[in-house]
Symmetry: C2
Subunit: 292 residues, 2 copies
Protein backbone atom coordinates (compact mmCIF):
# COMPACT_ATOMS: atom_id res chain seq x y z
CA UNK A 1 0.00 0.00 0.00
CA UNK A 2 1.16 3.57 -0.63
CA UNK A 3 1.10 5.46 2.65
CA UNK A 4 1.71 9.19 3.08
CA UNK A 5 3.08 10.83 6.22
CA UNK A 6 2.96 14.60 6.69
CA UNK A 7 5.31 15.71 9.48
CA UNK A 8 8.41 13.56 9.92
CA UNK A 9 9.00 14.00 13.66
CA UNK A 10 9.08 11.40 16.43
CA UNK A 11 5.59 10.02 15.70
CA UNK A 12 5.54 10.44 11.91
CA UNK A 13 9.07 9.08 11.56
CA UNK A 14 8.41 6.12 13.85
CA UNK A 15 5.18 5.26 12.00
CA UNK A 16 7.11 5.38 8.72
CA UNK A 17 9.88 3.09 10.00
CA UNK A 18 7.44 0.37 11.12
CA UNK A 19 5.14 0.61 8.09
CA UNK A 20 8.04 0.57 5.62
CA UNK A 21 9.42 -2.53 7.33
CA UNK A 22 6.10 -4.18 6.36
CA UNK A 23 6.85 -3.38 2.70
CA UNK A 24 4.45 -0.49 2.33
CA UNK A 25 5.61 2.40 0.13
CA UNK A 26 6.21 5.39 2.34
CA UNK A 27 5.83 8.94 0.98
CA UNK A 28 7.03 11.56 3.46
CA UNK A 29 6.41 15.29 3.53
CA UNK A 30 8.19 17.75 5.80
CA UNK A 31 8.31 21.54 5.75
CA UNK A 32 12.06 21.28 6.03
CA UNK A 33 14.38 20.16 3.26
CA UNK A 34 16.92 18.99 5.86
CA UNK A 35 14.37 16.64 7.47
CA UNK A 36 13.51 15.14 4.07
CA UNK A 37 17.21 14.50 3.52
CA UNK A 38 17.65 12.73 6.87
CA UNK A 39 14.49 10.66 6.28
CA UNK A 40 15.83 9.45 2.92
CA UNK A 41 19.37 8.88 4.18
CA UNK A 42 18.11 6.81 7.11
CA UNK A 43 15.76 4.83 4.85
CA UNK A 44 12.75 5.95 6.89
CA UNK A 45 10.73 6.74 3.71
CA UNK A 46 10.89 5.79 0.04
CA UNK A 47 10.24 9.30 -1.21
CA UNK A 48 10.45 12.62 0.63
CA UNK A 49 9.52 16.15 -0.36
CA UNK A 50 8.50 19.52 1.02
CA UNK A 51 5.67 19.43 -1.55
CA UNK A 52 2.31 17.86 -0.67
CA UNK A 53 1.74 16.90 -4.33
CA UNK A 54 3.83 13.72 -3.89
CA UNK A 55 0.92 12.38 -1.81
CA UNK A 56 -1.28 12.08 -4.94
CA UNK A 57 -0.50 8.37 -5.03
CA UNK A 58 -1.20 7.69 -1.34
CA UNK A 59 -4.16 5.54 -0.26
CA UNK A 60 -3.86 6.50 3.41
CA UNK A 61 -2.31 9.71 4.75
CA UNK A 62 -1.24 10.24 8.38
CA UNK A 63 -0.94 13.88 9.43
CA UNK A 64 1.66 13.95 12.20
CA UNK A 65 2.16 17.69 12.66
CA UNK A 66 1.45 19.83 15.76
CA UNK A 67 -2.30 20.14 16.36
CA UNK A 68 -2.71 23.67 15.06
CA UNK A 69 -1.39 22.62 11.65
CA UNK A 70 -3.66 19.59 11.06
CA UNK A 71 -6.79 21.21 9.60
CA UNK A 72 -4.80 23.69 7.44
CA UNK A 73 -2.88 20.77 5.96
CA UNK A 74 -6.03 18.77 5.23
CA UNK A 75 -7.30 21.82 3.35
CA UNK A 76 -4.12 22.10 1.28
CA UNK A 77 -4.15 18.34 0.61
CA UNK A 78 -7.59 18.25 -1.02
CA UNK A 79 -6.42 18.96 -4.63
CA UNK A 80 -4.20 15.87 -4.43
CA UNK A 81 -6.67 13.41 -2.91
CA UNK A 82 -8.66 10.66 -4.64
CA UNK A 83 -12.27 10.31 -3.46
CA UNK A 84 -11.32 7.18 -1.52
CA UNK A 85 -8.14 8.45 0.13
CA UNK A 86 -8.29 7.99 3.90
CA UNK A 87 -6.87 10.86 5.93
CA UNK A 88 -6.08 10.49 9.62
CA UNK A 89 -4.08 12.41 12.22
CA UNK A 90 -2.20 11.69 15.45
CA UNK A 91 -3.22 14.70 17.57
CA UNK A 92 -3.72 14.16 21.30
CA UNK A 93 -7.10 15.97 21.40
CA UNK A 94 -9.80 14.85 18.97
CA UNK A 95 -13.05 16.81 19.11
CA UNK A 96 -11.89 20.13 17.56
CA UNK A 97 -9.71 18.33 15.01
CA UNK A 98 -12.39 15.85 13.93
CA UNK A 99 -14.97 18.63 13.74
CA UNK A 100 -12.76 20.79 11.50
CA UNK A 101 -11.29 18.03 9.34
CA UNK A 102 -14.42 15.94 8.74
CA UNK A 103 -16.03 19.06 7.31
CA UNK A 104 -13.12 19.36 4.89
CA UNK A 105 -12.79 15.68 3.95
CA UNK A 106 -15.43 12.92 4.14
CA UNK A 107 -12.91 10.14 4.63
CA UNK A 108 -11.23 11.72 7.62
CA UNK A 109 -10.90 9.62 10.81
CA UNK A 110 -9.23 11.04 13.90
CA UNK A 111 -6.50 8.98 15.51
CA UNK A 112 -4.35 9.14 18.63
CA UNK A 113 -1.52 6.66 19.07
CA UNK A 114 -0.62 7.00 22.77
CA UNK A 115 3.11 6.55 22.51
CA UNK A 116 6.05 8.88 22.78
CA UNK A 117 9.38 9.56 24.36
CA UNK A 118 10.91 12.68 25.89
CA UNK A 119 12.70 13.25 22.56
CA UNK A 120 11.40 15.05 19.46
CA UNK A 121 12.25 15.17 15.77
CA UNK A 122 13.22 12.79 12.98
CA UNK A 123 16.39 11.70 14.79
CA UNK A 124 14.30 10.42 17.71
CA UNK A 125 12.17 8.23 15.39
CA UNK A 126 12.47 4.55 16.29
CA UNK A 127 11.05 1.17 15.40
CA UNK A 128 8.42 -0.49 17.62
CA UNK A 129 7.45 2.77 19.32
CA UNK A 130 3.77 1.71 19.26
CA UNK A 131 4.28 -1.83 20.53
CA UNK A 132 1.73 -2.41 23.32
CA UNK A 133 0.46 1.19 23.18
CA UNK A 134 -3.19 2.20 22.94
CA UNK A 135 -4.21 3.63 19.53
CA UNK A 136 -7.55 5.42 19.70
CA UNK A 137 -9.63 6.05 16.56
CA UNK A 138 -12.47 8.55 16.63
CA UNK A 139 -14.62 8.33 13.51
CA UNK A 140 -16.86 11.38 12.98
CA UNK A 141 -19.57 11.12 15.60
CA UNK A 142 -22.83 10.17 13.87
CA UNK A 143 -24.90 10.95 16.94
CA UNK A 144 -23.95 14.60 16.79
CA UNK A 145 -24.60 14.81 13.04
CA UNK A 146 -21.08 15.84 12.20
CA UNK A 147 -20.72 13.11 9.57
CA UNK A 148 -21.63 14.48 6.15
CA UNK A 149 -24.73 12.98 4.42
CA UNK A 150 -22.49 11.82 1.56
CA UNK A 151 -20.36 9.82 3.92
CA UNK A 152 -23.29 8.17 5.63
CA UNK A 153 -24.78 7.34 2.16
CA UNK A 154 -21.72 5.36 1.13
CA UNK A 155 -21.66 3.30 4.28
CA UNK A 156 -18.39 4.88 5.33
CA UNK A 157 -16.33 5.09 7.42
CA UNK A 158 -16.54 1.45 8.58
CA UNK A 159 -14.32 0.04 5.81
CA UNK A 160 -11.86 2.87 6.32
CA UNK A 161 -11.86 2.33 10.04
CA UNK A 162 -11.08 -1.36 9.51
CA UNK A 163 -8.07 -0.48 7.37
CA UNK A 164 -6.71 1.87 10.02
CA UNK A 165 -7.36 -0.64 12.81
CA UNK A 166 -5.45 -3.30 10.85
CA UNK A 167 -2.51 -0.93 10.44
CA UNK A 168 -2.56 -0.16 14.17
CA UNK A 169 -2.57 -3.88 14.98
CA UNK A 170 0.32 -4.39 12.54
CA UNK A 171 2.28 -1.85 14.63
CA UNK A 172 1.66 -3.92 17.75
CA UNK A 173 -0.73 -1.28 19.12
CA UNK A 174 -4.10 -1.93 20.78
CA UNK A 175 -6.89 -0.14 18.88
CA UNK A 176 -9.82 1.53 20.66
CA UNK A 177 -12.81 3.10 18.91
CA UNK A 178 -14.87 5.86 20.51
CA UNK A 179 -16.41 9.25 19.84
CA UNK A 180 -14.10 12.27 19.86
CA UNK A 181 -15.86 13.57 22.96
CA UNK A 182 -15.40 10.34 24.97
CA UNK A 183 -11.72 10.32 23.95
CA UNK A 184 -11.21 13.92 25.03
CA UNK A 185 -12.91 13.40 28.39
CA UNK A 186 -10.92 10.23 29.07
CA UNK A 187 -7.56 11.81 28.25
CA UNK A 188 -8.54 14.86 30.29
CA UNK A 189 -8.73 12.55 33.35
CA UNK A 190 -5.63 10.50 32.83
CA UNK A 191 -3.33 12.80 30.89
CA UNK A 192 -4.27 16.49 31.01
CA UNK A 193 -5.66 16.75 34.58
CA UNK A 194 -2.51 15.10 36.03
CA UNK A 195 -0.39 17.81 34.36
CA UNK A 196 -2.37 20.60 36.04
CA UNK A 197 -2.62 18.81 39.41
CA UNK A 198 1.11 18.24 39.34
CA UNK A 199 1.83 21.79 38.13
CA UNK A 200 -0.14 23.14 41.10
CA UNK A 201 2.09 21.13 43.45
CA UNK A 202 5.34 22.60 42.14
CA UNK A 203 3.87 26.12 42.02
CA UNK A 204 2.53 25.83 45.58
CA UNK A 205 5.90 24.70 46.97
CA UNK A 206 7.58 27.63 45.22
CA UNK A 207 5.10 29.89 47.04
CA UNK A 208 6.66 29.01 50.43
CA UNK A 209 7.92 32.32 51.84
CA UNK A 210 9.97 30.86 54.74
CA UNK A 211 13.34 30.31 53.08
CA UNK A 212 14.48 27.81 55.77
CA UNK A 213 11.44 25.67 55.03
CA UNK A 214 11.79 25.98 51.24
CA UNK A 215 15.49 25.13 51.31
CA UNK A 216 14.97 22.11 53.57
CA UNK A 217 12.03 20.96 51.42
CA UNK A 218 14.26 21.09 48.33
CA UNK A 219 16.91 19.05 50.14
CA UNK A 220 14.50 16.45 51.50
CA UNK A 221 12.34 15.91 48.41
CA UNK A 222 12.64 12.34 47.20
CA UNK A 223 10.68 9.79 45.16
CA UNK A 224 7.17 10.81 46.30
CA UNK A 225 7.70 14.41 45.29
CA UNK A 226 9.64 13.44 42.18
CA UNK A 227 6.83 11.25 40.83
CA UNK A 228 3.95 13.54 41.77
CA UNK A 229 5.66 16.61 40.28
CA UNK A 230 7.00 15.01 37.10
CA UNK A 231 4.32 15.82 34.53
CA UNK A 232 3.72 19.28 36.04
CA UNK A 233 7.37 20.13 35.50
CA UNK A 234 7.38 18.84 31.92
CA UNK A 235 7.23 20.56 28.52
CA UNK A 236 5.43 23.93 29.01
CA UNK A 237 4.36 24.32 25.36
CA UNK A 238 2.79 20.85 25.34
CA UNK A 239 0.96 21.46 28.63
CA UNK A 240 -0.42 24.76 27.35
CA UNK A 241 -1.51 23.23 24.04
CA UNK A 242 -3.35 20.40 25.84
CA UNK A 243 -5.27 22.98 27.85
CA UNK A 244 -5.97 25.07 24.77
CA UNK A 245 -7.30 22.21 22.64
CA UNK A 246 -9.09 20.30 25.38
CA UNK A 247 -10.31 23.27 27.39
CA UNK A 248 -13.88 22.06 28.03
CA UNK A 249 -13.02 18.51 29.10
CA UNK A 250 -10.03 19.64 31.13
CA UNK A 251 -12.12 22.21 33.02
CA UNK A 252 -14.76 19.51 33.61
CA UNK A 253 -12.06 17.31 35.20
CA UNK A 254 -10.53 20.22 37.11
CA UNK A 255 -13.92 21.08 38.66
CA UNK A 256 -14.32 17.44 39.72
CA UNK A 257 -10.82 17.49 41.15
CA UNK A 258 -11.39 20.74 43.01
CA UNK A 259 -14.46 19.21 44.69
CA UNK A 260 -12.48 16.17 45.85
CA UNK A 261 -9.64 18.33 47.12
CA UNK A 262 -12.10 20.48 49.06
CA UNK A 263 -13.55 17.30 50.56
CA UNK A 264 -10.10 16.07 51.61
CA UNK A 265 -9.28 19.46 53.18
CA UNK A 266 -12.56 19.34 55.09
CA UNK A 267 -11.86 15.82 56.39
CA UNK A 268 -8.47 16.97 57.67
CA UNK A 269 -9.84 20.22 59.16
CA UNK A 270 -12.53 18.32 61.04
CA UNK A 271 -10.15 15.49 62.04
CA UNK A 272 -12.42 12.99 60.35
CA UNK A 273 -9.66 10.40 60.21
CA UNK A 274 -12.00 7.46 59.62
CA UNK A 275 -13.42 8.94 56.43
CA UNK A 276 -9.99 10.08 55.26
CA UNK A 277 -8.68 6.56 55.71
CA UNK A 278 -11.72 5.20 53.87
CA UNK A 279 -11.08 7.54 50.91
CA UNK A 280 -7.41 6.52 50.81
CA UNK A 281 -8.42 2.86 51.04
CA UNK A 282 -10.81 3.25 48.09
CA UNK A 283 -8.01 4.89 46.09
CA UNK A 284 -5.59 2.13 47.04
CA UNK A 285 -8.05 -0.49 45.83
CA UNK A 286 -9.14 1.33 42.65
CA UNK A 287 -5.77 2.56 41.35
CA UNK A 288 -4.68 -0.82 39.89
CA UNK A 289 -7.66 -0.59 37.46
CA UNK A 290 -5.84 2.32 35.82
CA UNK A 291 -2.57 0.41 35.47
CA UNK A 292 -2.13 -2.32 32.92
CA UNK B 1 28.92 1.59 72.17
CA UNK B 2 25.80 -0.12 73.53
CA UNK B 3 22.84 0.93 71.37
CA UNK B 4 19.20 0.10 72.07
CA UNK B 5 16.48 -0.23 69.45
CA UNK B 6 12.80 -0.37 70.38
CA UNK B 7 10.69 -1.66 67.49
CA UNK B 8 12.43 -4.13 65.20
CA UNK B 9 10.65 -3.39 61.93
CA UNK B 10 12.07 -2.17 58.62
CA UNK B 11 13.71 0.96 60.08
CA UNK B 12 14.71 -0.42 63.49
CA UNK B 13 15.99 -3.65 62.00
CA UNK B 14 17.94 -1.89 59.25
CA UNK B 15 19.50 0.53 61.76
CA UNK B 16 20.54 -2.45 63.90
CA UNK B 17 22.12 -4.29 60.95
CA UNK B 18 24.31 -1.33 59.96
CA UNK B 19 25.25 -0.32 63.51
CA UNK B 20 26.10 -3.88 64.54
CA UNK B 21 28.34 -4.19 61.47
CA UNK B 22 30.32 -1.28 62.99
CA UNK B 23 30.88 -3.39 66.12
CA UNK B 24 28.39 -1.61 68.34
CA UNK B 25 26.48 -3.82 70.80
CA UNK B 26 22.85 -3.91 69.71
CA UNK B 27 20.06 -4.45 72.24
CA UNK B 28 16.69 -4.96 70.56
CA UNK B 29 13.20 -4.78 72.04
CA UNK B 30 10.04 -5.90 70.28
CA UNK B 31 6.53 -6.43 71.59
CA UNK B 32 6.56 -9.78 69.85
CA UNK B 33 8.54 -12.82 70.97
CA UNK B 34 8.63 -14.09 67.37
CA UNK B 35 10.30 -10.89 66.13
CA UNK B 36 12.95 -11.16 68.87
CA UNK B 37 13.64 -14.71 67.72
CA UNK B 38 14.06 -13.70 64.06
CA UNK B 39 16.29 -10.75 65.05
CA UNK B 40 18.59 -13.06 67.00
CA UNK B 41 18.58 -15.82 64.37
CA UNK B 42 19.47 -13.38 61.62
CA UNK B 43 22.18 -11.78 63.76
CA UNK B 44 20.49 -8.39 63.55
CA UNK B 45 20.98 -7.76 67.29
CA UNK B 46 23.19 -9.13 70.06
CA UNK B 47 20.40 -9.38 72.59
CA UNK B 48 16.62 -9.28 72.09
CA UNK B 49 13.72 -9.16 74.50
CA UNK B 50 10.11 -8.10 74.89
CA UNK B 51 11.22 -6.39 78.11
CA UNK B 52 12.45 -2.78 78.09
CA UNK B 53 14.69 -3.47 81.11
CA UNK B 54 17.43 -4.89 78.84
CA UNK B 55 18.02 -1.31 77.68
CA UNK B 56 19.50 -0.35 81.08
CA UNK B 57 22.97 -0.72 79.58
CA UNK B 58 22.28 1.36 76.44
CA UNK B 59 23.97 4.72 75.90
CA UNK B 60 21.73 5.67 72.98
CA UNK B 61 18.21 4.36 72.34
CA UNK B 62 16.37 4.61 69.01
CA UNK B 63 12.58 4.31 69.24
CA UNK B 64 11.43 2.90 65.92
CA UNK B 65 7.78 2.18 66.62
CA UNK B 66 4.69 3.70 64.98
CA UNK B 67 4.29 7.37 65.98
CA UNK B 68 1.49 6.88 68.48
CA UNK B 69 3.67 4.54 70.56
CA UNK B 70 6.76 6.78 70.85
CA UNK B 71 5.85 8.97 73.86
CA UNK B 72 4.28 6.07 75.83
CA UNK B 73 7.49 4.08 75.34
CA UNK B 74 9.70 6.96 76.47
CA UNK B 75 7.58 7.11 79.63
CA UNK B 76 7.99 3.37 80.28
CA UNK B 77 11.72 3.59 79.58
CA UNK B 78 12.48 6.20 82.25
CA UNK B 79 13.11 3.73 85.12
CA UNK B 80 15.86 2.09 83.06
CA UNK B 81 17.67 5.22 81.85
CA UNK B 82 20.90 6.74 83.11
CA UNK B 83 20.91 10.54 83.34
CA UNK B 84 23.08 10.72 80.22
CA UNK B 85 21.22 8.24 78.05
CA UNK B 86 20.28 9.79 74.72
CA UNK B 87 16.83 8.87 73.44
CA UNK B 88 15.82 9.52 69.85
CA UNK B 89 13.02 8.39 67.54
CA UNK B 90 12.48 7.89 63.80
CA UNK B 91 8.93 9.26 63.40
CA UNK B 92 8.09 11.14 60.20
CA UNK B 93 6.47 14.10 62.02
CA UNK B 94 8.48 15.86 64.70
CA UNK B 95 6.69 18.70 66.52
CA UNK B 96 4.13 16.69 68.57
CA UNK B 97 6.67 13.95 69.30
CA UNK B 98 9.44 16.32 70.39
CA UNK B 99 6.99 18.32 72.48
CA UNK B 100 5.73 15.23 74.33
CA UNK B 101 9.04 13.40 74.66
CA UNK B 102 11.28 16.31 75.65
CA UNK B 103 8.94 16.93 78.57
CA UNK B 104 9.48 13.32 79.62
CA UNK B 105 13.23 13.09 79.05
CA UNK B 106 15.79 15.90 78.92
CA UNK B 107 18.13 14.07 76.59
CA UNK B 108 15.53 13.42 73.91
CA UNK B 109 16.32 14.51 70.36
CA UNK B 110 13.83 13.91 67.56
CA UNK B 111 15.09 12.19 64.43
CA UNK B 112 13.75 11.33 60.99
CA UNK B 113 15.81 9.13 58.70
CA UNK B 114 14.14 9.59 55.30
CA UNK B 115 14.54 6.10 53.95
CA UNK B 116 12.18 3.20 53.43
CA UNK B 117 10.88 0.60 51.05
CA UNK B 118 7.38 -0.60 50.27
CA UNK B 119 8.00 -3.52 52.65
CA UNK B 120 7.48 -3.63 56.40
CA UNK B 121 8.70 -5.76 59.30
CA UNK B 122 11.90 -7.39 60.50
CA UNK B 123 12.17 -9.56 57.38
CA UNK B 124 12.35 -6.43 55.22
CA UNK B 125 15.29 -5.05 57.24
CA UNK B 126 18.39 -4.59 55.08
CA UNK B 127 21.89 -3.22 55.21
CA UNK B 128 22.73 0.20 53.73
CA UNK B 129 19.09 1.35 53.78
CA UNK B 130 20.20 4.85 54.83
CA UNK B 131 23.04 5.24 52.33
CA UNK B 132 22.63 8.65 50.69
CA UNK B 133 19.37 9.38 52.53
CA UNK B 134 18.62 12.57 54.46
CA UNK B 135 18.56 12.13 58.26
CA UNK B 136 16.92 15.09 60.00
CA UNK B 137 17.52 15.82 63.70
CA UNK B 138 15.25 18.19 65.57
CA UNK B 139 16.64 19.07 68.99
CA UNK B 140 14.04 20.55 71.34
CA UNK B 141 13.33 24.04 70.05
CA UNK B 142 14.86 26.53 72.47
CA UNK B 143 13.07 29.46 70.89
CA UNK B 144 9.69 28.08 71.89
CA UNK B 145 10.82 27.33 75.43
CA UNK B 146 10.12 23.63 75.17
CA UNK B 147 13.63 22.71 76.34
CA UNK B 148 13.61 22.15 80.09
CA UNK B 149 15.71 24.56 82.21
CA UNK B 150 17.80 21.62 83.45
CA UNK B 151 18.74 20.75 79.89
CA UNK B 152 19.70 24.31 79.04
CA UNK B 153 21.74 24.55 82.25
CA UNK B 154 23.92 21.59 81.31
CA UNK B 155 24.67 22.92 77.86
CA UNK B 156 22.84 20.01 76.27
CA UNK B 157 21.91 18.78 73.76
CA UNK B 158 24.87 19.85 71.58
CA UNK B 159 27.14 16.96 72.63
CA UNK B 160 24.27 14.53 72.23
CA UNK B 161 23.41 15.94 68.85
CA UNK B 162 27.02 15.45 67.73
CA UNK B 163 26.91 11.79 68.74
CA UNK B 164 23.71 11.22 66.76
CA UNK B 165 25.06 13.11 63.75
CA UNK B 166 28.18 10.94 63.79
CA UNK B 167 26.05 7.80 63.86
CA UNK B 168 23.98 9.09 60.94
CA UNK B 169 27.14 9.82 58.96
CA UNK B 170 28.42 6.32 59.79
CA UNK B 171 25.24 4.96 58.13
CA UNK B 172 26.05 6.89 54.96
CA UNK B 173 23.17 9.30 55.61
CA UNK B 174 23.26 13.09 55.22
CA UNK B 175 22.38 14.80 58.53
CA UNK B 176 20.25 17.97 58.67
CA UNK B 177 19.52 19.94 61.84
CA UNK B 178 16.42 22.10 62.18
CA UNK B 179 13.55 22.93 64.50
CA UNK B 180 10.66 20.44 64.68
CA UNK B 181 8.38 23.04 63.09
CA UNK B 182 10.63 23.70 60.09
CA UNK B 183 10.93 19.93 59.57
CA UNK B 184 7.18 19.43 59.70
CA UNK B 185 6.50 22.28 57.26
CA UNK B 186 9.14 21.03 54.85
CA UNK B 187 7.88 17.43 54.85
CA UNK B 188 4.32 18.73 54.51
CA UNK B 189 5.35 20.25 51.16
CA UNK B 190 7.36 17.41 49.74
CA UNK B 191 5.87 14.34 51.36
CA UNK B 192 2.41 14.85 52.88
CA UNK B 193 0.92 17.36 50.42
CA UNK B 194 1.83 15.14 47.44
CA UNK B 195 -0.13 12.28 49.04
CA UNK B 196 -3.29 14.40 49.30
CA UNK B 197 -2.85 16.01 45.86
CA UNK B 198 -2.40 12.58 44.36
CA UNK B 199 -5.28 11.09 46.38
CA UNK B 200 -7.57 13.81 45.02
CA UNK B 201 -6.62 12.78 41.48
CA UNK B 202 -7.60 9.14 41.92
CA UNK B 203 -10.78 10.08 43.82
CA UNK B 204 -11.77 12.62 41.13
CA UNK B 205 -11.34 10.09 38.32
CA UNK B 206 -13.46 7.59 40.23
CA UNK B 207 -16.17 10.27 40.38
CA UNK B 208 -16.64 10.10 36.58
CA UNK B 209 -20.26 9.04 36.07
CA UNK B 210 -20.05 8.31 32.31
CA UNK B 211 -19.00 4.65 32.33
CA UNK B 212 -17.71 4.82 28.70
CA UNK B 213 -15.36 7.63 29.70
CA UNK B 214 -14.26 5.94 32.95
CA UNK B 215 -13.59 2.62 31.23
CA UNK B 216 -11.61 4.24 28.41
CA UNK B 217 -9.67 6.35 30.94
CA UNK B 218 -8.71 3.19 32.82
CA UNK B 219 -7.55 1.57 29.57
CA UNK B 220 -5.59 4.59 28.34
CA UNK B 221 -3.87 5.58 31.61
CA UNK B 222 -0.13 5.28 31.29
CA UNK B 223 3.05 6.67 32.85
CA UNK B 224 1.79 10.22 33.52
CA UNK B 225 -1.20 8.96 35.47
CA UNK B 226 0.79 6.17 37.09
CA UNK B 227 3.39 8.55 38.51
CA UNK B 228 0.99 11.31 39.56
CA UNK B 229 -1.36 8.86 41.30
CA UNK B 230 1.26 6.67 42.98
CA UNK B 231 1.52 8.17 46.45
CA UNK B 232 -2.23 8.89 46.61
CA UNK B 233 -2.90 5.19 46.00
CA UNK B 234 -0.42 4.07 48.65
CA UNK B 235 -0.76 2.82 52.23
CA UNK B 236 -4.03 4.29 53.65
CA UNK B 237 -3.02 3.96 57.32
CA UNK B 238 0.25 5.79 56.70
CA UNK B 239 -1.47 8.58 54.76
CA UNK B 240 -4.03 9.06 57.52
CA UNK B 241 -1.38 9.06 60.23
CA UNK B 242 0.65 11.72 58.37
CA UNK B 243 -2.43 13.94 58.26
CA UNK B 244 -3.23 13.26 61.90
CA UNK B 245 0.24 14.05 63.22
CA UNK B 246 1.06 16.90 60.85
CA UNK B 247 -2.40 18.43 60.60
CA UNK B 248 -1.40 22.10 60.94
CA UNK B 249 1.49 22.07 58.49
CA UNK B 250 -0.39 19.89 56.03
CA UNK B 251 -3.40 22.22 56.05
CA UNK B 252 -1.04 25.18 55.59
CA UNK B 253 0.35 23.47 52.46
CA UNK B 254 -3.10 22.40 51.26
CA UNK B 255 -4.37 26.01 51.46
CA UNK B 256 -1.38 27.16 49.43
CA UNK B 257 -2.03 24.40 46.93
CA UNK B 258 -5.73 25.23 46.66
CA UNK B 259 -4.83 28.85 45.81
CA UNK B 260 -2.48 27.75 43.03
CA UNK B 261 -5.04 25.31 41.64
CA UNK B 262 -7.68 28.04 41.62
CA UNK B 263 -5.24 30.27 39.75
CA UNK B 264 -4.58 27.56 37.14
CA UNK B 265 -8.32 26.98 36.68
CA UNK B 266 -8.84 30.72 36.18
CA UNK B 267 -6.05 30.90 33.59
CA UNK B 268 -7.70 28.07 31.63
CA UNK B 269 -11.23 29.50 32.00
CA UNK B 270 -10.08 32.88 30.70
CA UNK B 271 -7.90 31.31 27.97
CA UNK B 272 -4.89 33.12 29.39
CA UNK B 273 -2.50 30.78 27.59
CA UNK B 274 0.50 33.08 27.90
CA UNK B 275 0.35 33.13 31.69
CA UNK B 276 -0.38 29.39 31.85
CA UNK B 277 2.69 28.72 29.75
CA UNK B 278 4.71 31.07 31.96
CA UNK B 279 3.63 29.18 35.09
CA UNK B 280 4.51 25.84 33.48
CA UNK B 281 7.85 27.26 32.37
CA UNK B 282 8.64 28.42 35.92
CA UNK B 283 7.78 24.92 37.19
CA UNK B 284 9.92 23.32 34.52
CA UNK B 285 12.88 25.48 35.55
CA UNK B 286 12.37 25.17 39.34
CA UNK B 287 11.62 21.43 39.66
CA UNK B 288 15.26 20.29 39.32
CA UNK B 289 16.04 22.17 42.58
CA UNK B 290 13.88 19.58 44.36
CA UNK B 291 15.70 16.64 42.77
CA UNK B 292 19.16 15.68 43.86
Amino acid sequence: MKIGIVGLGLIGGSLAIDLRSQNHDLLGVSRQEATCKVALEKGIVDLASTDLSILKAAEIIFICTPMDKIAPIVEKLIPYLDNDTIVTDVGSVKQPIVEACSKLWDNFIGGHPMAGTAQQGINAAQSNLFQGAAYVFTPPDKSTGRTSPALRGRGQPLANLDKLKQLAVSLGAIPYICSPEVHDRAVAWISHLPVMVSAGLVAACLGETDTDVLELAQNLASSGFRDTSRVGGGNPELGTMMAQYNQDSLLRSLYGYRDRLEHIIELIETKNWDNLQQLLTENHQARPKFLN
